[in-house]
């Protein structure tokens, strides 16, 4: 416990010191300190109340914390290599943001999670807006306002739950065996779920996500999709541990998965397209949580952080070098390392063996009932179909800057190989054949859908707020009425 706490404190303190001077050195020191602390406290520690009874903040080094720490440290190392030239406050703010995420993965206290989610969105806004482009600032501002609406709802829910049960620690709440037929608890839990869903970027509640992730500078997109969104997933996992809300999460997961996919299929802007895919991949994680497959969801969180980080890194490099954002206008313009990075990421997200996506999808599908398996396959098929759009990009022009791409590519491959070997039942021909079949079918679907150009509704600022409120009220109302 002491090792983990001092690791987080080192991250925060060294990040702040970097604001005075020598930002890269302090960032590197923070990474080293974090790694040492991680090595000291794995494989985990039992729950402790920091600050003691009766109101202390509960922290635990459970599998979620281990997975997220590993993910955060790998991403931090990548960014340190990649963003060597970035000046101003990028490195210190990144260090503090990663420290916040490390603390969030340890936290098992509802209010602590609120503070950390809020700090991470404030830091993310500063980082998004550091690109100094009007569209980035505008996307970031919408992001902040929507998240803040969600977190206000979260605070209301927290008040109700605390007033009823008198505790904020996840384990203590679960220990009281909360019953959602109690109206105070039901309304409170519904609002907590809705608020966290907004912060996570669940479809129809968190419509800020694709634009904010798409318009941010390259390294910031990596950070946002790789780890900041995952804080919300961790919070949802904690909520599902404390309260019986599996069905709600399952429903949210299905809506998110297919909603994000629908928009991604026809999106032309490369980075916004990846942002919509972050939404659709959240569907897998939420469905995993809803089905009670915690390990599968966790593996998916880590795998998604790695391969989406790789995709955003490569896509950002391409967009910055060429100066155009549309997928069609980027064809044939990419350098070799960028094209390879993009290719590895695309294969991983489509679930081709033996990359990280394959192992994670395999583990998720193993415990699932038949209908859920069908949903997973449909999502995978859609993902493959929408990523088929990128095929013209894989004709590289010449060599170019490599940066941090190999770190993430190696991590994707390593996690994939490790997962494929360790998860039982993935080393057989049938699983591999299925994966290739889904991708092939996805490509066929892409060829069929290419001629269709539907006009999907675009969501302005006001509509995003209204849809957020309607979604939140819907979730809370369903929980209160006891239909789920």
């Amino acid at each position: 416990m002491a090792a983990a706490l001092s690791g987080v404190l080192a991250y925060l303190g060294l990040g702040v010191l970097g604001l005075i001077g020598a930002p890269r050195t302090f960032s590197l020191l923070a990474l080293l300190g974090g790694t040492v602390s991680f090595a000291l406290w794995t494989p985990g520690f039992p729950e402790v109340l920091v600050g003691g009874l009766p109101w202390g903040v509960a922290l635990a080094g459970d599998p979620w914390a281990v997975g997220l720490w590993a993910l955060a440290l790998v991403l931090h190392a990548t960014l340190l290599i990649h963003a060597r030239a970035r000046r101003d406050a990028f490195h210190p703010l990144t260090t503090v943001l990663i420290g916040t995420c490390l603390a969030g993965s340890l936290s098992r206290d509802l209010f602590n999670l609120y503070v950390l989610m809020d700090l991470s969105s404030l830091l993310a806004l500063v980082l998004i807006a550091s690109g100094r482009r009007v569209r980035a600032v505008w996307a970031g501002l919408q992001y902040l306002v929507l998240t803040e609406v969600g977190l206000t709802l979260y605070l209301f829910g927290l008040g109700l739950v605390y007033a009823r049960l008198g505790t904020l620690s996840v384990s203590a709440l679960a220990g009281q065996g909360p019953n959602l037929s109690d109206p105070a608890l039901a309304a409170g839990v519904g609002l907590l779920l809705a608020g966290t869903a907004v912060k996570t970027g669940v479809f129809l509640l968190g419509l800020w996500l694709p634009q904010a992730h798409g318009q941010a500078p390259t390294e910031v997109s990596v950070l946002l999709s790789g780890i900041v969104v995952k804080i919300g997933v961790v919070a949802l996992a904690r909520l599902s541990e404390a309260f019986p809300v599996g069905t709600v999460l399952l429903l949210l997961g299905i809506v998110t998965g297919f909603g994000g996919l629908l928009y991604a299929l026809w999106e032309r802007d490369l980075k916004v397209f990846l942002g919509f895919h972050t939404v659709s991949q959240l569907g897998y994680m939420l469905m995993g949580l809803g089905l009670g497959a915690g390990t599968g969801a966790l593996l998916y969180v880590v795998a998604h952080g790695l391969f989406k980080g790789l995709l955003f890194l490569a896509a950002g490099e391409a967009v910055e070098r060429v100066g155009r954002r549309e997928i069609t206008s980027l064809a044939g313009q990419l350098s070799l390392p960028v094209a390879v990075g993009l290719g590895v990421g695309a294969c991983a997200i489509a679930g081709l063996p033996p990359l990280a996506g394959f192992a994670a999808k395999g583990l998720l599908a193993q415990g699932a009932p038949a209908w859920a398996k069908a949903l997973f396959y449909a999502l995978g098929l859609g993902t493959a179909a929408s990523f088929s759009k990128l095929i013209p990009l894989f004709r590289p022009k010449e060599g170019g800057l490599v940066g941090g791409l190999p770190v993430l590519a190696a991590a994707v491959l390593g996690l994939g190989l490790g997962g494929t070997v360790l998860v039982s039942g993935l080393l057989n021909l049938r699983a591999w054949g299925e994966a290739f079949l889904i991708v092939a079918a996805g490509y066929g679907t892409y060829l069929g859908l290419r001629r269709i150009h539907p006009r999907l509704p675009r969501w302005g600022f006001d509509w995003a707020v209204v849809s957020l409120l309607v979604g939140a009220v819907g979730v809370a109302g369903l929980v209160t009425l006891g239909w789920l």
Binding site: L125, V137, V145, L160, F461
Partner: protein
């Protein structure tokens, strides 16, 4: 009883704030609406901490049961967070005003669709 009145006020503030956040076209009005709603959440927590006939949570300050101190402590954090959000958001509103000469959300959205032409 006074606790329940405060709770009702908090709920009303949330409704009022969110309503302004949605219907106003000016960004600053929207942010103020959001802040009012967030104040509603803060008041909600404090009002729920109240017990009938309770004293402030300071040792030795009169007889009777004390109000629940934990929500008071949480609210301190929440106030700082609301303040921080408002400050940061307003800075970026100034940025948008400088670059686009407008704080009107509908005009900003129209500009966004047209790819941000020079104002």
């Amino acid at each position: 009883m006074e606790g329940l009145a405060a709770v009702a006020l908090a709920i009303a503030l949330a409704g009022l704030g969110f309503w302004n956040l949605i219907v106003r076209r000016n960004l600053i009005w929207k942010l103020l609406g959001l802040n009012v709603a967030a104040s509603g959440a803060i008041l909600f927590l404090v009002a729920l901490a109240h017990r009938p006939g309770a004293r402030p949570p300071i040792v030795g300050l009169g007889p009777g049961p004390s109000a629940d101190p934990l929500p008071h402590a949480l609210v301190l954090t929440a106030i700082v967070i609301d303040f921080a959000t408002l400050a940061l958001a307003l800075v970026y509103v100034i940025f948008l005003t400088e670059h686009r000469h407008t704080q009107d959300v509908e005009r900003l959205e129209r500009d966004e669709e047209r790819g941000w032409p020079q104002p």
